[in-house]
Symmetry: C2
Subunit: 746 residues, 2 copies
């Protein structure tokens, strides 16, 4: 029980520290009245959207909760090896943890956004003083989100575990009974992960549609047609665009990482319980130590992240990215050390080194993913330059080249992933414990997720600085270009961190997937013990299993299509609205001549995207929920006496092939989008003629090469910020939904 107490204490510490950071951020200067006005507009838009989005998600989640309860309590028969004594009890715990997970996920998203829409104006105001001040406000604002998410998810899982443990008599002291009972708790609280990921899915899809519909709409008419800069206050869609950064990048990503850590904590506990039962004599009398190892490792990661956030400062001369990197390295090193300590303490001195090594494999994998992402998306390197060069021949060749880069970029991550999975599996096996290979891959995932709090802080740093830049541009930017210069510097760092954390997110999804479907198979085996069959293999050469795999890949394509299409549709409406507002303005030389003090109607654009994003998020979200359920219930029909688990086996294939397809598709979408974005920035930095061409007589005309690059950038927007990140969540949601519903597919 000491372990549980420590976990709860550290997660409360994490929350308390997040509270301290909130106070620190709120105490900063909120700048000029004009800044506050812009910030208030963003705030009210973001809060209105999140309120309505949460209402929609709440309704859907309530429906799913009812279905889970009915399915467990009344449709499914109680079976001998169930983790509870009655069907009703199992239904109760599962539904309760689902609702709790969903509620925590909503809260995590909300808190992240709550702080970021307050940190943005303070970072903008801080930029008037120094880069350091703005940097620290943005990072600490982001860290609220990061710490809150990781600590909440830990507290939720550990708290649920503690409650069930106490209720089921874990404090009575009978060692044999405790082991048996404790090993079953994760099966009763898997609902937590599913609740969290269901919310995360809708939050990410809805927010992703919102942010990119506004962005595409604002850019296509503002930048391309009207020729006004990014974040120009004359653009009617600019507030919607800034709101989008918050609801898409903060709230969505917060919910995403919340569910990642929650799902992986539970999955790792299932595998740890299985490992313990296979090796009870070697691992000593304490099952709790082994089962709570993943949570302890995560708890140490929280402390490491706190230290990392606090060490970041800069002197205004160096590249701010270096300061953030210092913080990251501090966090990673501390997290690794804590990981080693936790292994030694809980896994014993004979085995800890193998699992510590697995953790290091995980950390190395995340670094590799980050470097690969940089190579494919930064304009220092060839791929982005190739796209920029292809833009000379027009938008078509720009798109062709970008698609090619995106499709190509999957090869290195695939090899890294393959090496990490096999490597950590072999290390686990080398420990000499029985069946420890799979646990080795799980431990690699834990190692990778150690610095998650800091990484999420860096990620949320992005939208905060993006917003700060927008606020400065809309207010003091014209008169005080030196302030804009500072926010531009931070904004560009924010773009980098957003891209890198996306690489990190795919990498963790990749490793975590293997953890989660191993957990799924252990769970099925646990439930089907009475039949005498074990789900020991997922034999894709059986037709029904192959079809399961096919459906998994199909889901990835279809889901991506719905996300991308939703952005296209909503963006078209924004474009029409902006064009409507611009139609009446006078023109000169094909360029709009804005009247002095022109102020567009921001509200209509905010309204359009709010409504459209909410409407369009339903289809992809429901698809992601219905395909695995439908497949499970359908493939179950091909059950035979020799093959009683075919339904769950088919679903396992759906999960695995869906995961492979989802990871590669996400890499394609994220990196193609990032590369297009930076190809445009490369040209804007002056390459290939820059943004405008100056003719002999001094007249400036738009450079068609830049125009072509803008087309690519726009196409990439829904790729990299809607479909791509939503796929990360989809992959993990597939794992949690199947974990929860596995008993129904038997």
């Amino acid at each position: 029980m000491n372990e549980l107490g420590l976990i709860l204490a550290i997660s409360l510490l994490g929350l308390a520290f997040a509270g301290y950071l909130i106070k620190w951020v709120l105490a900063r200067d909120t700048g000029t009245p004009a800044m506050r006005e812009v910030s208030d507009a963003i705030k009210s838009g973001a809060e209105a959207f999140l309120r309505r989005q949460n209402r929609t998600i709440g309704t859907i989640a309530a429906g799913v909760a009812c279905l889970i309860f009915i399915g467990y309590a009344f449709v499914r028969q109680h079976a001998e090896h169930d983790p509870t004594n009655t069907a009703l009890e199992l239904a109760g715990w599962t539904t309760l943890s689902f609702v709790f997970g969903a509620a925590c996920s909503v809260a995590a998203g909300y808190v992240g956004m709550w702080v970021s829409i307050r940190a943005n104006v303070r970072a903008a105001a801080g930029a008037r003083t120094s880069v350091n001040e703005a940097l620290r406000i943005a990072l600490r604002g982001g860290a609220v989100s990061g710490l809150f998410v990781v600590a909440m998810s830990l507290l939720g899982v550990a708290g649920l575990f503690a409650i069930v443990y106490a209720v089921k008599g874990g404090l009575s002291g009978n060692a044999q009974a405790t082991t048996e009972m404790a090993s079953k708790i994760p099966l009763m609280i898997v609902g937590y992960g599913f609740g969290a990921s269901l919310v995360a899915l809708f939050a990410q899809v809805g927010g992703g549609i919102y942010t990119k519909a506004a962005d595409v709409g604002a850019d296509l008419v503002g930048k391309v047609e009207a020729g006004i800069p990014e974040d120009d206050p004359r653009n009617p869609a600019v507030i919607a665009d800034l709101v989008g950064d918050n609801v898409g990048d903060c709230a969505g990503r917060g919910a995403d990482l919340f569910e990642s850590t929650a799902a992986e904590n539970i999955g790792a506990m299932i595998l740890a319980a299985a490992l313990y039962k296979d090796n009870a004599t070697s691992l000593g009398p304490n099952i709790l130590g082994v089962m709570l190892f993943p949570l302890i490792a995560r708890a140490f990661g929280i402390i490491a992240s706190i230290v990392g956030v606090m060490v970041v400062k800069t002197d205004g001369k160096e590249d701010p990215m270096h300061a953030l990197n210092r913080g990251y390295y501090a966090t990673a090193i501390l997290a690794a050390a804590g990981f080693g300590g936790a292994s030694y303490w809980l896994l014993g001195k004979d085995y800890w080194q193998y699992f510590f090594a697995c953790g290091l494999v995980g950390i190395a994998t995340s670094l590799a993913f980050v470097f690969i992402t940089q190579y494919y998306t930064e304009y220092r390197f060839q791929p982005v330059k190739d796209i920029a060069n292809a833009s000379v021949a027009g938008p078509a060749t720009n798109i062709i080249q970008g698609v090619a880069v995106g499709l190509e970029c999957v090869w290195m991550p695939s090899l890294v992933m393959g090496a990490a999975i096999i490597g950590s599996y072999e290390l686990g096996k080398a420990s000499g414990l029985a069946d420890a290979g799979l646990f080795g891959t799980a431990v690699a995932t834990m190692g990778m997720l150690g610095p998650a709090g800091y990484v999420l802080a860096m990620d949320t740093f992005g939208p905060i600085t993006d917003n700060a830049g927008g606020i400065v541009e809309m207010t003091v930017g014209q008169d005080q270009p030196e302030v804009r210069e500072k926010t531009d510097k931070l904004d560009s760092v924010g773009n980098t961190t957003k891209a890198l954390t996306k690489g990190y997110a795919v990498g963790s999804a990749a490793l975590a997937a293997f953890l989660l479907f191993s957990a799924y198979m252990k769970e099925v085996t646990e439930y089907s013990k009475a039949t005498g069959y074990k789900l020991e293999s997922v034999d894709i050469s059986k037709p029904a299993v192959f079809v399961g795999g096919l459906l998994g890949a199909m889901l990835v394509f279809w889901f991506s299509a719905l996300c991308i299409k939703a952005v296209g549709k909503a963006a078209q409406k924004v474009i029409e609205e902006v064009r409507r507002q611009f139609r009446e303005l006078p023109r000169e030389n094909q360029m709009i001549k804005f009247p002095e003090g022109y102020k567009p109607d921001y509200g209509t654009c905010v309204d359009i995207v709010t409504k459209d994003a909410l409407r369009q998020m339903v289809a992809p979200g429901l698809l992601a929920v219905c395909v695995p359920i439908g497949a499970g219930l359908l493939l179950r029909l091909f059950k035979t006496a020799e093959d009683p688990l075919i339904g769950t086996e088919g679903v396992a294939a759906l999960l695995m092939v869906g995961t492979i397809g989802g990871i590669l598709m996400a890499l394609f979408l994220n990196n193609a989008g990032g590369a297009w974005d930076n190809a445009k920035k490369y040209i804007e930095s002056g390459a290939l003629g820059g943004k405008y061409l100056t003719a002999g007589d001094g007249t400036k005309t738009k450079n068609p090469t830049h125009g072509a690059a803008v087309v690519g950038d726009t196409v990439g927007d829904p790729f990299k910020d809607t479909a791509g990140p939503s796929l990360h969540v989809l992959i993990k949601m597939l794992s949690t939904i199947t974990l929860v519903l596995a008993p129904l597919f038997l």
Copy 2:
């Protein structure tokens, strides 16, 4: 032996009939001297490319042949259950059949193109008389290719089988020994399929790059920048474009279907042998009957195709598509009847009806794929209209919508495929024969491929009419618009048939894949009998097997990237060349004013694409060969005593997940490309303002909506005509390469 004689006789009949059609086509009028001049330019360009391409392919194939021989003869140890007595003998047969397959595949591609570059000018000349004349010339020209391919592939497999059978003493009459020996022959001639698919892969990739680099280059500068129509003689890239239709669509597709039928014939024979051995008492004394059933079914399909081709004629009033459809229905009905007869004759009266039903499932699947393709790519339906509407907001939204349509379109084919696989498996099982489920899925594939000859004729009809249209446009088109109208009509039918046959090709690849990897598993089991292990499952939950699957999906993305990138690169060079030639011409109103009688230099463009296509086809081709080999040799290292087949199991996962990924990716690329193409055509037909906008004062300006649609069309070119069709070949090549090399991964 009667069966073998019949097969050989019918395939010779098919070849003789192809010869008759050649004579018939060559006897037609070759038109005006101007027509012949254009046709000669196409002919010399196409022949030069094919000659150089075959030289490159020949070199690569020779290298691979050496490696196969060395691997089998010296690296691998002879094992007890090998199909031959010595390692050297096995090496000899495998290498011989590889070389023979490669040579036949080259010949198939060459003959197809040889006729089509002669039929094009005759169809153009025929269009001066009547639509019927041109239609029949084009279809019969295409039928040469279709019949030649199917008959040659059948003759090759049956001939090789007969030779090995005779050499190994099959004529001696000892029933027991004959059964044992005959069942091993397919394992000795699998090289034939691999040789054929290696050539097909390079031919399709190289031809696909050629055709689209020329097309994209010609369109972007000609249509978009210079504003001249398609196939205008003033466009320096027009001849290269017309050559591309022949080398990409005729030669590439010919080699593709050649290898499909060859590989599937051999795969089906392996499964038939396994079925016979499991059911020797039920199926009677004659193993040859069962093993040759797939070939007999194919032979009846040839007769059906001949009849189908001969019944096509039209009166010039009806839509020529109806005439082609009549021929297709005739072929399909006859092939189905022949299939039923073959089942009754060879599988016996107790079982035939189940397998006949499987065949019908295959035919229904191909019809479903064709209808789905139509829905997603014709502008009568919503998806294409959506893309056209999205073009109003510019090229970016056009691309976003097109990508969304392409990604979405996979869902129906996936469900159809899933239903077909499970359906035919259950039908096979229902026959009551042991282990007959997999044979059921194989029979479905055979049913689907029955009308292959006719389908290929319809497919090759496309490039012939496309060329005929180009020749008319470049010669008599200006003076005799009614001739151009006729070829336009046929050209548009050709576009439809090309799109539909692409749907057919993916569908057949999908079903065939299941057949081929079942064959692979039977083969591995056969080879590893001595170990006592059977490759009965492909357990993707083992790390090494999962990684195999991951590598399969990775290969699909990477390969597509290389194909698309190659087109982009080569097209940029064409664009530069065309711009160079246009730079000196006078301009008016931003449009080029061509001098009277302007004749560009066609040769430079032909040269550029020839060189570039040959250079760029090497990387994707080698990638496709090296990934499965590398994976097999690498995963083999994780062999343990309990898991001696892990190398072959990992490769099986590579094959399966690669196939799933490849099919979905091909559907995405083909249908997105087709939909973009037709969205542009929809606008050109007058929708959304048409091609030009007429201002109040009568001046015509380019319609930006059409411009946006042209960008989409251009992006779609390498998708639908390079990467997509190359993926079909890749999928099948993966199966054949693993079939040949399986013994080396043990």
